[in-house]
Amino acid sequence: MLPRQDTVKIFSTFIQFDYDRFSSWATDSRLRRSMKQCLAKIPRESSENFWALYWHQIWEQQPKSLAREHLVAYLQEICFWSSTKTINGFTSTQYTVSDCFQVAIAGIDKVLKGFDRERGFNLKSYASITFGNLIRELLRQKREIDICSDWSLLRKLSQKRMTEALAGAGLDPEVVASYILGWNCLKTIYVPERASSTRKLPKPEPETWVAITNLYNQERQTSLDQPGKTATTEDLEKWMLSCVKAARAHLFPNVTSINQPKPGYESGEIVDSLVGEVDDSLLTDMIADEEAQQRSQQQSEIGQFLTATIQQLKPEEQKLLELYYSLGLKQAEIAQELNTQQYTVSRKLARSRKALLKALAKWTTETMHISLTSDILDNISSLLEEWLAGYYDSQK
C-alpha cells in the first residue's frame, strides 16, 4: 500500500481492495471539494493532525456532517495496518484483510466517541488500538457463530444486533418489529435442555413451533404498534430462518454498504448545504490558540509520569504489559511464555492496568486541577490504552 502524502487526499480518498489486497485510492469528489475549500481558508501549511482535530471538533458538534466522512478517509491507513497486524496474529483464519478492514472501519464511531481531544495524544494511535480490539473481538464472535447451529445462533445475538441485521436486510420497520417479537418468543420457549449444549441446538419440534406461535399471537396484541395478522407456525419458522440469514450476513458488512453515502447525502439535503461551509471562527481559534503548544507540553508530562510509574511495577508485571502491548501476543502464547494459565494472564494484566489507571487519575487531578467523575476516568482509561500502545510500539 502506498501511504498518502497530500493533505487533500488524506481527507478525501478511500482504499479500494482487489480481493484481499490493496489496489488503489478512490477519491470522493464531495470530500475533495470540501477539503480544498478548507485549505484555501488557511494562510499557512498545517499538519494532518491539525485537520484531524478540526474535523473531530466539527464531528462532535454535527455528528451527521461530512466531518465523519473526512475522518473515515483520514484513518484508512491505520485501519489497514491494524487489520493486517491483527490477522497475522491468527494462525489459521479464513478471513481476509479486507474483511477485517470493513469490520474495523464500521466501528469508527467508537473511535471518534472514545477519543479525548483535550488530553489525547493523537487520533491515529487511539484508532489503532480501538481497531485492533474491534477486529479481535469480531474474529472471536465470528468463530463462535460459525460453529453454532442456526437455532443456537438465534440465542447468541443481542436484540440491538438482530434489529440492525434485519433492517440491514432491507425489511420495513413494522416487519422487523414482528420478527423481533417472534424471535423473543422463540428464545422464551426454546431453551437448551442440557448444561452445555448451547452451540448445537437442533431445529425445534413441531409442538414447540405451536407454542412459539401461540405466544406470538398472544403478545402481538400488546407488544406491537401494528399487531398485524394472526401468524401461523409456517410464518414463524420462515421468519426465524430470515433472522438467521440476516444475522449471518450482518456479521461482516459488505464493502459497498460502507463507502456508500448515508441516506440524505444523495438527495443533497445534508451534504450540499455543508460542503463549502467552513467553520471560520473555529479555524481561527485553532490557529491562534496556543493550546496546541500546551497540549504537547502536557502530553510529554503524562508520558514521563507513566514511564516512571511503569518502572515502579514489579518486573513480572512490566513483562506482561510488554508482551501484550508490544508483541501483541495472544493470551495462550503469553500464558506459555510466562508459564501460567490463560485466565491468570487476563487477571494480572487487568490488575496492572488498574494500578496505572489509578495512578494516572490521581496525577491528573493533582496537576490539572480537574475533579474526577466516572466519565473523566473513562476518558483517562482510553488515554492510558492509547499511551501504552504508543509507548510499547516505539520501544520495538
Partner: protein, 394 residues
C-alpha cells in the same frame, strides 16, 4: 469443556473462567425449581454469573461483597425477572447476564431501575459463554445513566444503552469508588405504592398460571411492581407457578419480617421478652440474653368452644423451635384430653411429636430441632373449629 478462545481479551474487560464444577453445581441448582424451561434457564445463567463474579469481587475488589437477598428470594426473582443483585458495604451492583456474543447493548429489565427497593448503583453487562467456558464483564453503566439516557422499550420493558454509551473499562468502577466516592450514581424514581392484599391474591391467581409465560408483561408495570417488590407475594407467585402447595413461611417471617400475608394465614407477630418467657415458666437451660427470641408468631384457635393460642418461636439460633398451645384468657386452663401434635410434611409422626394434657395445665409445648427448609404440619385434638391443615416451613 473446550476453551476455544485463543484470542487475548481486551484488558479493560474482566474475563473469568467457568470451570466444570461451577457449571455442574449451577445446573443442578437450577433444575430444582420446577417452573417452566425459560425460568430454569434464566436461573442457570444468573447462578453462573453470580458464582463466578462474586468470589472474584470478594477476593480482588471488595471483601464486603455478598449476594443480595437470600437464596430463596433470589430464586423467586429469577423465576420471573433476569438479573442478580450484589450488595457491597455502601453500594449495590446488578449483574445482567446474557448469552449474546456481540456485546452491542446492555438491556436492563425495568424492575431493576424503577422499583425503589430494587434499584442499584451499577449495572454490569455480563456475557455468559457456557460452551467457550468463560464469563465476561464487558461494560457497565450507573442507574443514573440508564434512567436518564437509556432507551426505554415498551414492548419488553427494558432500559438499554448501546456499547459505546457504556463505560468499557470495569476498572473505572473501582477507581471511581475510591477517588470520587461522592459521585451521584442514582437517579430519582417514583415511589411504588403498596398493594391491597385482596388485589395481590387475585393477581397471584392470574399470573401464577403456567399458561402465562411472561407474567412481568401481562399487567401494567406499576401493578406488577407492587406485587413483585414484596418478597412474600413474589414467593407465593413463583410457588404457584411451580405448582408448589403454598406453605406458611415461618422462617422467612423471622428473616424478612412479617407482612400482611401473615395476618391472612391467621398468624400475627408477637413480642417475646425474657420476662414473658420466664413468667410462663419456660425453662431453657443456660438461657443467655442473646438467645431470648425477640419475635414469635401466634394464631388464635378455638377447641371445643374454648379460645386458645398456638405460638411458635425459635430457641436461639441453632434451629430449635418451640410450639406452645396456651390459654388466651387469664385464669383458664387446658382441659385434660387436649392434644397438640406435630407431623412431618408427609404427615408422618416422629419421636416426641405430641403432648397431651392429663390434668388441667396452663400450657402444652413441644420443642423440635429443624433443618433450614424443613416443614411441619400441626394438629390438635379435639380438632379446632375451622381447622385447615397448613404446612409451616422453617
Amino acid at each position: 469443556m473446550t476453551i476455544t478462545n485463543q484470542i487475548l481479551f481486551n484488558p479493560t474487560q474482566l474475563v473469568l473462567e467457568l470451570d466444570e464444577a461451577t457449571v455442574d453445581r449451577a445446573w443442578q441448582t437450577s433444575q430444582v425449581t420446577t417452573g417452566n424451561s425459560t425460568s430454569r434457564w434464566q436461573r442457570y445463567l444468573n447462578q453462573l454469573a453470580l458464582d463466578t463474579i462474586l468470589p472474584w469481587l470478594q477476593a480482588e475488589e471488595d471483601e464486603t461483597a455478598k449476594a443480595g437477598l437470600n437464596e430463596a428470594v433470589r430464586a423467586d426473582i429469577w423465576e420471573v425477572v433476569n438479573g442478580t443483585i450484589i450488595n457491597l458495604n455502601d453500594a449495590k451492583i446488578v449483574l445482567i447476564p446474557t448469552e449474546a456474543e456481540d456485546l452491542s447493548e446492555l438491556r436492563v429489565p425495568q424492575e431493576w431501575i424503577d422499583i425503589p427497593e430494587w434499584k442499584a448503583d451499577y449495572y454490569l453487562a455480563v456475557q455468559v459463554s457456557i460452551d467457550a467456558g468463560f464469563v465476561r464483564v464487558w461494560g457497565y453503566a450507573t442507574h443514573q445513566q440508564l434512567k436518564n439516557n437509556g432507551n426505554f422499550s415498551h414492548s419488553d420493558r427494558t432500559y438499554s444503552l448501546s456499547d459505546d454509551e457504556l463505560i468499557a473499562d470495569i476498572n473505572v468502577l473501582w477507581v471511581a469508588r475510591e477517588l470520587c466516592p461522592d459521585e451521584v450514581t442514582q437517579a430519582a424514581v417514583e415511589p411504588i405504592n403498596d398493594l391491597d392484599p385482596d388485589r395481590a391474591d387475585s393477581l397471584i391467581e392470574r399470573l401464577g398460571s403456567q399458561s402465562q409465560l411472561l407474567p412481568r408483561l401481562a399487567v401494567p408495570f406499576t401493578t406488577w411492581a407492587t406485587l413483585i417488590k414484596n418478597p412474600q407475594w413474589c414467593g407465593r407467585l413463583t410457588a404457584k407457578r411451580r405448582g408448589e402447595a403454598t406453605k406458611t413461611p415461618v422462617l422467612q417471617w423471622f428473616k424478612r419480617g412479617i407482612a400482611n400475608m401473615a395476618t391472612e394465614f391467621g398468624w400475627r407477630q408477637i413480642e417475646m421478652t425474657a420476662d414473658t418467657l420466664g413468667a410462663r415458666g419456660i425453662n431453657i437451660p443456660e438461657l443467655t440474653s442473646n438467645l431470648v427470641p425477640t419475635v414469635g408468631f401466634a394464631k388464635q384457635i378455638a377447641i371445643a368452644n374454648q379460645p386458645y393460642e398456638l405460638r411458635v418461636f425459635p430457641l436461639g439460633e441453632s434451629g430449635s423451635w418451640r410450639f406452645e398451645l396456651g390459654c388466651l384468657t387469664p385464669g383458664c386452663v387446658i382441659l385434660p384430653g387436649v392434644r397438640l401434635r406435630l407431623l412431618t410434611e408427609d404427615l408422618q409422626s416422629f419421636e416426641g411429636n405430641e403432648e397431651v394434657a392429663t390434668e388441667p395445665v396452663p400450657l402444652l409445648f413441644i420443642e423440635v430441632d429443624l433443618e433450614e427448609g424443613e416443614s411441619l404440619v400441626w394438629q390438635a385434638e379435639p380438632t379446632p373449629d375451622n381447622y385447615q391443615q397448613e404446612v409451616l416451613q422453617f
